[in-house]
């Protein structure tokens, strides 16, 4: 009984909640939600594109918060959180760009265009990659972590530019369907619900992967400490 209770961790509970939600989201996307009249079946890419973009922006915010707190109090836990979020953020930003490229071809007829939303998202991806490269090549110890933290805080500047790009500039990218800046009733109620379920599923999956990566980072640090103390 004790062993069973020990196995019930935060990560396992999170995984237990996440997987059914993702299953429901997949069912809704492919079986339940209606096909959009003008964009056709490829509009369904939207249900994976928007959640991945949302979680990518969320990871940038976590990188910036973690980096800022690390710069203030030098607590390594915040640095680990920022580094882990940066790594997961690169995956999600790549997913956003790739799903966007695949969506663009049948709808716009081109794989890529230098549209404001696409360009700012690509810049965000480059910033995240630069952050990870800096973390890998910078000197080990607090100096390298501080360099990374400064870049992590600077990465946050691009996040609102990505978000407001469709409002500030005339873009080929569709406008916002959800959120405070969205035009009212632009989405069918079924589409809206499917999108929300997908966003929740993706967010929970993001939290789970981030937690696992963070735990791994802590283990790596413990190994480093043991090597330092005992040679």
């Amino acid at each position: 009984m004790k062993n069973t209770l020990k196995k019930i961790t935060f990560e396992n509970i999170l995984l237990g909640i996440t997987m059914p939600i993702i299953g429901v989201a997949i069912y809704m996307i492919f079986m339940w939600v209606p096909t959009e009249q003008t964009l056709g079946i490829s509009q369904r890419i939207f249900y994976i594109h928007v959640p991945s973009a949302w979680t990518a922006l969320l990871s940038v915010v976590i990188v910036a918060i973690g980096s800022l707190i690390y710069l203030i109090n030098s607590n390594e836990k915040w640095d680990s959180l920022a580094h882990s979020a940066g790594e997961v953020g690169v995956i999600l930003a790549s997913l956003t760009l790739l799903s966007g490229i695949i969506w663009a071809k049948p709808i716009w007829g081109v794989w890529w265009t230098w549209d404001a939303r696409l360009t700012t998202t690509l810049i965000l991806w480059f910033i995240l990659v630069a952050y990870l490269m800096l973390r890998s090549y910078a000197p080990t110890g607090p100096q390298g972590k501080r360099f990374g933290a400064i870049l992590g805080v600077l990465a946050l500047i691009d996040a609102p530019i990505v978000y407001y790009s469709t409002v500030w500039w005339r873009t080929a990218h569709p406008g916002m369907n959800i959120g405070p800046l969205a035009e009212s009733a632009t989405l069918d109620s079924q589409m809206y619900l499917a999108l929300m379920v997908s966003v929740v599923g993706f967010t929970l999956l993001f939290v789970y992967i981030l937690k696992e990566r963070y735990n791994m980072k802590q283990d790596e640090k413990e190994i480093d400490k043991l090597f330092t103390y005992y040679g």
């Binding site: 079986m31 890419i45 994976i48 991945s52 695949i102 696992e212 190994i223």
Partner: protein, 104 residues
Amino acid sequence: MVKLIKLISGCLLGLCLVIWDSMSSITVAEFQVTSPILSYDHQIVAAAAANLPFLYAAYTIAWGIFFIYIIILSRKQKQIREELKLLRSLIQDKQIETNSKCLK
């Protein structure tokens, strides 16, 4: 982590089955579209079928990326935990050895 991989592979398999099912039904509709008697519904289905590979590609790539990343993460985690376990046992042995030397 192993459980997660199993669940994700289950989801992927389910997804593939759903897409396979929808592809097969649309192929039938496409065949009908090539006939001279075209209905408006068939034209819509044909347009949808033309974009189906893009939908398939997007979801395959998305779940593929997650799947590969999680596999890499779980392998690395396993390796780190084994290394940590080994280091701890080595340190424990070293401490026991030092203590016994001190007692002597």
